[in-house]
C-alpha cells in the first residue's frame, strides 16, 4: 500500500458559537478509500480543509504518516485537493492547468511534457489538451482537476464533494472511474460527500458525521446493516424507525432475543441483538424497507421470531427494478416497504392501491439502535 495514513486527534473547530468540529478523532489507514459522510453543515468539509491546510483547528492534532502537519502551509503538505467547483485556472489551457504544479517545481521541460501527457491520458483527456476550461463540460473539468491534483504524486488525495455539480448519470460513471483510479494509484483517498449512495458504493470505510461529531466509523456494510445511532439509520438509506421500550431480553442462539414495546405499532415485536439490554431501557427500533415482505395471502407463521402485521396499501410506487409501498397499519402508522423485481412478472401477486396486505419480517432483520438526542 502506498500513501500515508492520516490521524485526526481530538480536533475541535468553532466559528463563533457554532461548533463545526467537536472533538473529532479519526484514523485513516494507508491506501484507504475513506469517506466523510454527513448532511451539509456537519463539519466534514471543515475537517477536509484542516487536513489540506486551509483552516486550522482550535485544539487537536493532525498527523500525516505520524508527523504533525498543522504547522505547515498548504503548499508544503503532501496532500492535494480536488475541489467541489473544480477551481481550474481559467486563463490556462487544460495542459497548462495540469502542468502548473510541475512548472512551480521547475521540472525539466521534456520530463514535464511526458508526465503531463501521461496524467491527461490517465483521466482520458488526450483529445482536449489545448482547450480552455471554459470550453469543457462539467465532467471534463473535474477530470482536469483530478489529473492536476494527482500529478504532484501526493500521498493523500482529498476530494471535496467532487461530483456534486454533475448530473446523476455522469456522477455514477465518474465515481466508478475514481474507484479505478484509486485501485491504480493506490494512495489514500479522503472523500467528502453528503450522498450516502456515493459513499456506500466506493468507500473502504465511512465516517458518518453530524453536528461536528463522528457518529460511526465502519465499512459500508457495517454502516448500513448495523447503524450505531438512530441518526445513522435514518441518514443511510431508507428505513422505518420507531422509539421503543425493552420488555424482555433473553439469550437466543448466540445472541439475545428482545421483546420491544413499540407504541406506534400498537403492539410488541421481537428483534435479535448482540448485546444484552436492560428491561425498561429506551431504544430505537429500525427495519429497512427491503427486509419487509409484503404478501396478499397470510404467510404461514414460522416460529415466534416472525413479526406479522396487516394493513392497507396507501401508495404503490413502481420504479422498474423495484416497487415501493406505503402500507398503513390498522392504527394509522405507515410502513415503507421495498420489493425488488428479480424476475419478469414472477414476483408474486401484483399489489395495487387499497389492497389488503400482510407485512412481515424476521426478528433477525430488525435492529436496535442507540438513541442520541439531536
Amino acid at each position: 500500500m502506498k500513501g500515508f495514513d492520516v490521524t485526526v486527534k481530538d480536533v475541535s473547530r468553532a466559528y463563533g458559537s457554532f461548533k463545526a468540529l467537536d472533538d473529532v478523532s479519526i484514523e485513516i489507514h494507508k491506501g484507504e478509500f475513506f469517506s466523510l459522510l454527513g448532511p451539509s453543515g456537519c463539519g466534514k468539509t471543515t475537517l477536509l480543509r484542516i487536513i489540506a491546510g486551509f483552516d486550522s483547528p482550535d485544539v487537536g492534532t493532525v498527523l500525516l504518516d505520524g508527523k504533525d502537519i498543522l504547522p505547515l502551509p498548504p503548499d508544503r503538505r503532501q496532500v492535494n485537493t480536488v475541489f467541489q467547483n473544480y477551481a481550474l485556472f481559467p486563463h490556462l489551457s487544460v495542459y497548462e492547468n495540469v502542468a502548473f504544479p510541475l512548472r512551480l517545481k521547475k521540472i525539466q521541460p521534456t520530463k514535464l511534457d511526458t508526465k503531463v501527457r501521461e496524467y491527461l491520458h490517465l483521466v482520458q483527456l488526450d483529445a482536449h489538451i489545448d482547450k480552455k476550461p471554459s470550453m469543457l463540460s462539467g465532467g471534463q473539468k473535474q477530470r482536469v482537476a483530478i489529473a492536476r491534483a494527482l500529478i504532484n504524486e501526493p500521498n493523500v488525495l482529498l476530494l471535496d464533494e467532487p461530483l456534486s455539480a454533475l448530473d446523476a448519470k455522469l456522477r455514477q460513471n465518474l465515481l466508478v472511474e475514481l474507484d479505478h483510479l484509486h485501485d491504480q494509484i493506490g494512495i489514500t483517498f479522503i472523500y467528502v460527500t453528503h450522498d450516502q449512495s456515493e459513499a456506500l458504493s466506493v468507500s473502504d470505510r465511512i465516517a458518518v458525521m453530524n453536528q461536528g461529531k463522528v457518529l460511526q466509523v465502519g465499512t459500508p456494510y457495517e454502516i448500513y446493516e448495523s447503524p450505531a445511532t438512530d441518526f445513522v439509520a435514518r441518514f443511510i438509506g431508507e428505513t422505518n424507525l420507531f422509539p421503543a421500550t425493552v420488555l424482555s431480553c433473553n439469550p437466543y442462539k448466540e445472541e439475545y432475543i428482545v421483546s420491544l414495546d413499540i407504541p406506534e405499532l400498537g403492539t410488541s415485536i421481537m428483534v435479535t441483538d448482540y448485546d444484552p439490554l436492560q428491561v425498561g431501557q429506551k431504544v430505537s427500533f429500525t427495519i429497512r424497507p427491503e427486509k419487509i415482505k409484503i404478501t396478499t395471502d397470510e404467510p404461514r407463521r414460522v416460529g415466534k421470531d416472525i413479526n406479522l402485521f396487516s394493513g392497507i396499501v396507501e401508495e404503490p410506487i413502481y420504479s422498474g427494478f423495484q416497487s415501493k409501498y406505503y402500507v398503513s397499519l390498522s392504527n394509522g402508522t405507515v410502513l415503507k416497504i421495498i420489493q425488488q423485481h428479480n424476475n419478469y412478472m414472477d414476483d408474486g401477486p401484483d399489489i395495487a392501491w387499497k389492497d389488503n396486505v400482510f407485512v412481515s419480517w424476521s426478528a433477525e432483520d430488525g435492529y436496535i439502535v442507540e438513541v442520541v438526542d439531536s
Binding site: 475541489f83 486563463h91 504544479p101
Partner: protein, 305 residues
C-alpha cells in the same frame, strides 16, 4: 435486449408482454432539414422604414454627432469666421507645421496619461486584490473612502490638491499633474478590477496553494493573469481620463507643463482658431484607429481567458 424467451401469458391475461419497438421507429420524425428553426427575423417585429424606433435612432445620432460634424466641416473652411468662403487645407497646414506649442502640449499630455495610468493601474489593482483577499477591520471604510474622489466635484479636488501641494512646498509642474492624475485614476481602476474580482472564484487561490504555490506565486501566476482583461481595460480608461482632464490639471499645472486641454483652452481665449477644428478631426481619426485596434486586442485577451 433479449425478449425472445416467450413466457406463457400471465394470469388473467391482464399482462401482455410487448415486443420492444426498435427505437428509431419511436423517435420523432425529423426531416432532412434538421430541427425546426424560426424563419429569419420572425422573432422581431416588422420594421417599417419610418417606424418610431428608426426615427429615434436618427435623432439620437444627430444629437450626438452634429457638433462634431460642424467642427469637421469648418476645419476645411478657408476663412477664419463662421462664414463659409471655400474649401481649404490651410488650418491643417498650420496645425502640422506651425504649432510647435500645441505639439509640445500634446507630448506632455501623452507622457502624463501613460505614466499616471500605469502607476494608477498598479496601485488600484493591488488595492482591489488586497481588499478582496484579506479580511481586516478597516476594509469597509477603505472601500467607501476610495470612491470619494469619484463623487466629489473636480473643482474641489483640484483646489484641495493645489492647497496640498503648496502646503508641502512642491513646485507645480509635470510631477504634480502626474500625481493628481494618478490619484483620481486609482478609484476607477479599483472599481473596475473589484468588479472583475467579484466574479473571480477565490477557491482557485486555494487550489494554487494546494498545488505547491507560495502566496506570491499564487498572486502572480494565478490571480493577476486571470483578471488581466479587467486590468487592461482599467488602464485604458485611465489613459483616456487623464488625456481629457482639464479642471484638475488647470489647478495643479505650472509653467512649462501645459497639457493639450489646457493649451486648447488658452487658444480659445484669443478667439477660436480654426486650428482647433482641424486638431479635432485629427484627434477623432486617431482615437478611432486606436479604439478599433484596441478592440481587436481586447477581444483576443477575452478569448484567451
Amino acid at each position: 435486449m433479449t425478449t425472445d424467451v416467450e413466457k406463457p401469458p400471465q394470469r388473467n391475461g391482464n399482462h401482455i408482454k410487448h415486443k420492444l419497438i426498435p427505437s428509431k421507429l419511436v423517435s420523432p420524425p425529423s426531416g432532412p432539414q434538421g430541427p425546426y428553426r424560426l424563419p429569419k427575423n420572425q422573432h422581431f417585429r416588422d420594421h417599417r422604414r419610418f417606424g418610431f424606433s428608426n426615427i429615434m435612432l436618427v435623432l439620437v445620432i444627430l444629437f450626438l454627432f452634429a457638433p462634431l460634424f460642424v467642427v469637421i466641416t469648418y476645419s476645411f473652411n478657408a476663412a477664419k469666421g463662421m462664414r463659409w468662403t471655400g474649401l481649404s487645407l490651410e488650418w491643417y497646414k498650420k496645425l502640422f507645421f506651425d504649432s510647435n506649442e500645441l505639439w509640445r502640449a500634446f507630448g506632455n499630455s501623452i507622457m502624463i496619461a501613460f505614466s499616471s495610468a500605469l502607476v494608477a493601474t498598479m496601485l488600484g489593482s493591488l488595492a482591489a486584490i488586497g481588499i478582496k483577499w484579506y479580511r481586516f477591520k478597516a476594509r469597509a471604510y477603505i472601500q467607501i473612502a476610495s470612491f470619494l474622489p469619484m463623487v466629489l466635484p473636480e473643482v474641489i479636488i483640484g483646489i484641495s490638491m493645489l492647497i496640498f501641494f503648496s502646503a508641502i512646498k512642491v513646485q507645480l509642474g509635470m510631477f504634480t499633474i502626474f500625481a493628481a492624475h494618478t490619484t483620481f485614476n486609482i478609484p476607477f481602476v479599483f472599481l473596475l478590477v473589484s468588479a472583475r474580482l467579484d466574479e473571480f472564484d477565490f477557491s482557485i487561490i486555494e487550489a494554487a496553494r494546494d498545488l505547491g504555490a507560495t502566496e506570491r506565486q499564487a498572486l502572480f501566476k494565478v490571480v493577476i493573469p486571470s483578471i488581466m482583461p479587467g486590468i487592461v481595460t482599467s488602464m485604458l480608461m485611465s489613459v483616456t481620463m487623464s488625456l481629457e482632464d482639464f479642471v484638475i490639471t488647470f489647478f495643479v499645472s505650472g509653467p512649462g507643463s501645459t497639457t493639450l486641454p489646457l493649451y486648447v483652452y488658452s487658444m480659445i481665449r484669443y478667439g477660436v482658431s480654426p486650428v482647433i477644428n482641424s486638431l479635432s478631426l485629427v484627434l477623432i481619426l486617431g482615437i478611432m484607429i486606436l479604439a478599433l485596434t484596441l478592440r481587436r486586442f481586447l477581444k483576443t485577451i477575452a478569448a484567451s481567458s
